[in-house]
């Protein structure tokens, strides 16, 4: 089985989000970048599936040269090779067009992505790629098994889950608990240095959206503390001040 996992290069979940250049650019200073947590789940499951069925595992990122350490980490976790589409990822459509092209070229049986990126939270690239390739796209997938040419999975829905079956090839947007995050070991890290990381060019310049300005939410006021022996006071405040009861 040929598996493709698409990964984002995103600020660590503990990062303080700030902007520069008149609020038009993300401020990268002091920020550590990681594989998107959902993409990391997808990758972990892909490594397990490859162990079971054999075949190959490729990771792909649409991004500039700065994303290579993140891609190397995916190679250390267990991908065999990597593709970096050398372009600034302008928006979801732009990214989807690049992925669709290279996914088609590679003829993958299974394409795994994260349910959403943790920077722009679009939750849409898998669906767009699915439509561009005429393939089913299912998200968010929390359990995935492959039996022959059939994928069996559980998809999270509000308040529960739904079980599905679909024939390969198809695309899944993954989330926990599909697999446990894998931490690269020393051997993985060493071998990642020499695994192929192919840099390819963008195939389309199309985008549908652009950010005009970034904004931060207003700062939160001080918390009002209520004595633990006077919980009635809290209920009063919620009713009369916040007016939520």
């Amino acid at each position: 089985m040929k598996i493709l996992v698409c990964i984002t290069h995103v600020p660590d979940t503990t990062s303080k989000i700030q902007f520069t250049d008149n609020n038009t650019k993300f401020d990268k200073s002091g920020v550590q970048f990681i594989i998107g947590p959902y993409d990391d789940y997808a990758l972990a499951r892909a490594v397990e599936l490859k162990e079971q069925t054999g075949g190959s595992l490729t990771v792909l990122n649409v991004g500039e040269a700065e994303t290579e350490p993140t891609i190397r980490k995916a190679l250390a976790i267990g991908a065999d090779d990597a593709i970096r589409v050398n372009a600034f990822p302008k928006d979801s459509l732009f990214v989807a067009k690049q992925i669709a092209h290279y996914a088609k070229e590679g003829g993958y049986d299974l394409i795994l992505m994260g349910r959403e990126s943790i920077d722009f939270n679009g939750g849409m690239v898998h669906g767009m790629v699915g439509e561009l390739l005429g393939m089913p796209s299912i998200s968010p997938v929390m359990k995935l098994d492959i039996e022959g040419s059939t994928a069996k999975m559980a998809r999270e829905i509000e308040g529960g889950k739904e079980y599905l079956e679909v024939n390969l090839p198809f695309i899944a947007g993954c989330q926990e608990p599909i697999a446990e995050w894998k931490i690269p070991n020393m051997r993985g890290i060493m071998s990642a240095r020499t695994k192929p990381l192919n840099v390819v060019e963008q195939v389309s310049d199309e985008a549908a959206t652009g950010v005009v300005e970034f904004k931060l939410p207003p700062a939160k006021g001080e918390v009002k503390l209520i004595d633990k022996d006077n919980v009635e006071e809290l209920v009063k405040l919620l009713k009369n001040e916040a007016k939520v009861l």
């Binding site: 600020p11 979940t13 989000i17 959902y38 979801s92 459509l93 989807a96 943790i118 920077d119 939270n121 679009g122 939750g123 849409m124 690239v125 898998h126 669906g127 767009m128 699915g130 439509e131 089913p136 796209s137 998200s139 829905i157 509000e158 308040g159 529960g160 889950k161 739904e162 079980y163 599905l164 079956e165 679909v166 024939n167 198809f170 947007g173 989330q175 926990e176 608990p177 985008a207 549908a208 959206t209 652009g210 005009v212 300005e213 970034f214 904004k215 931060l216 939410p217 939160k220 918390v223 009002k224 503390l225 633990k228 919980v231 809290l234 209920v235 919620l238 916040a242 939520v244 009861l245």
Partner: protein, 321 residues
């Protein structure tokens, strides 16, 4: 010109967030001109369909095909695309949800439409078409410009107040042509908590963390939730250890909630948990540690032992009635 709204249903009941999307579309139509047409898929009775009218729709296209009761992503996308063409819409509005996102993404390609998700405010259409959306899991916003003729906006919960005073909508049966291929993904069964208030849609949420010590103590969380008419949630470790089901896990890697009131009990307030709750209007924190980071994100707080505070709080809420 019509603005189309994609309606989601569960067991024949229209989701409240979809009605909010109708009200959002109505506010947009009032600004831009035009009317609001909803498209509803699957078995839904007339009375339920009429609710879209009170939320602001003048017409509902009803695709009364039971094969569409379940959220078959490709089939829903194909049906909504046909409705979009029928009413010659330029804008599609829907509620952000696990199904909505998946359907909208496919529609963006089908309709050559720019898609913006997590929309928090009505678009500004003075010069260019600009939409405010939430990004970095609620830690920031992006004023986003759409450059396409056709547009799709996936609206975040609470982006607008639900309208309830509209006139009845006319219901029109609408037949769609669906190719067998859109049913390629087969839903074999579903496993859903019934009767409970769904977490992503709840107006009040009561969540417990590791400070609750074990699943046997969850009755304290549930009792308060019941009095408040709230959904229950939890922190990630709580669902990881299996004290609570995964769909209750709130945060960066779980459900993002946007209630009017979020009550956090025995949760430390790690940044990844806060990422899932920072769209709440009010936050109450109950924690025995006065240094717990959650207090910095809270509007109201009680420093105390959850096992003492919760029963008293439940009683106090009961006494209010």
């Amino acid at each position: 010109m019509s603005i189309l709204v994609y309606i989601e249903q569960a067991d024949g009941a229209i989701k409240k967030t979809s009605l909010e999307a109708v009200s959002f579309a109505k506010a947009l139509a009032d600004k831009e001109g035009g009317d609001v047409v909803a498209v509803a898929l699957g078995t839904i009775d007339q009375g339920e369909l009429a609710k879209t009218g009170s939320a602001g729709a003048s017409k509902v296209l009803h695709v009364n095909d039971e094969k569409l009761n379940a959220g078959v992503i490709q089939a829903h996308a194909a049906a909504v695309a046909q409705a979009f063409e029928k009413v010659a819409a330029k804008t599609l509005i829907l509620a952000k949800s696990s199904l909505g996102d998946a359907v909208a993404a496919r529609l963006a390609i089908k309709l050559n439409a720019g898609l913006v998700s997590n929309v928090t405010d009505l678009p500004e259409t003075g010069s260019g078409y600009k939409v405010k959306r939430s990004i970095y899991t609620g830690k920031a916003f992006a004023e986003t410009e759409l450059t396409t003729d056709n547009k799709i906006l996936a609206v975040k919960k609470n982006a607008i107040d639900l309208k309830t005073d509209g006139a009845d909508a006319t219901v029109e049966d609408f037949d769609v042509n669906l190719d067998e291929s859109v049913f390629a993904a087969k839903i074999t069964s579903t496993d859903q908590a019934t009767g409970d208030i769904l977490l992503p849609e709840a107006d009040i949420v009561v969540s417990g963390g590791r400070g609750m010590k074990g699943p046997e103590n969850w009755n304290l969380i549930e009792d308060l939730a019941k009095e408040l008419g709230a959904a229950t949630g939890c922190s990630k470790p709580v669902s990881d250890i299996g004290w609570r089901p995964h769909h209750e896990h709130v945060g960066q890697t779980g459900v993002k909630v946007a209630p009017t009131l979020y009550v956090a009990v025995g949760i430390s307030g790690a940044i990844q948990h806060l990422a899932g709750v920072n769209s709440s209007k009010y936050i109450v924190v109950i924690n025995k540690d006065p240094e717990a980071p959650f207090f910095k994100a809270a509007d109201y707080g009680i420093v105390g032992d959850a096992f003492e505070v919760l029963p008293k709080l439940t009683e106090a809420v009961k006494a209010l009635k």
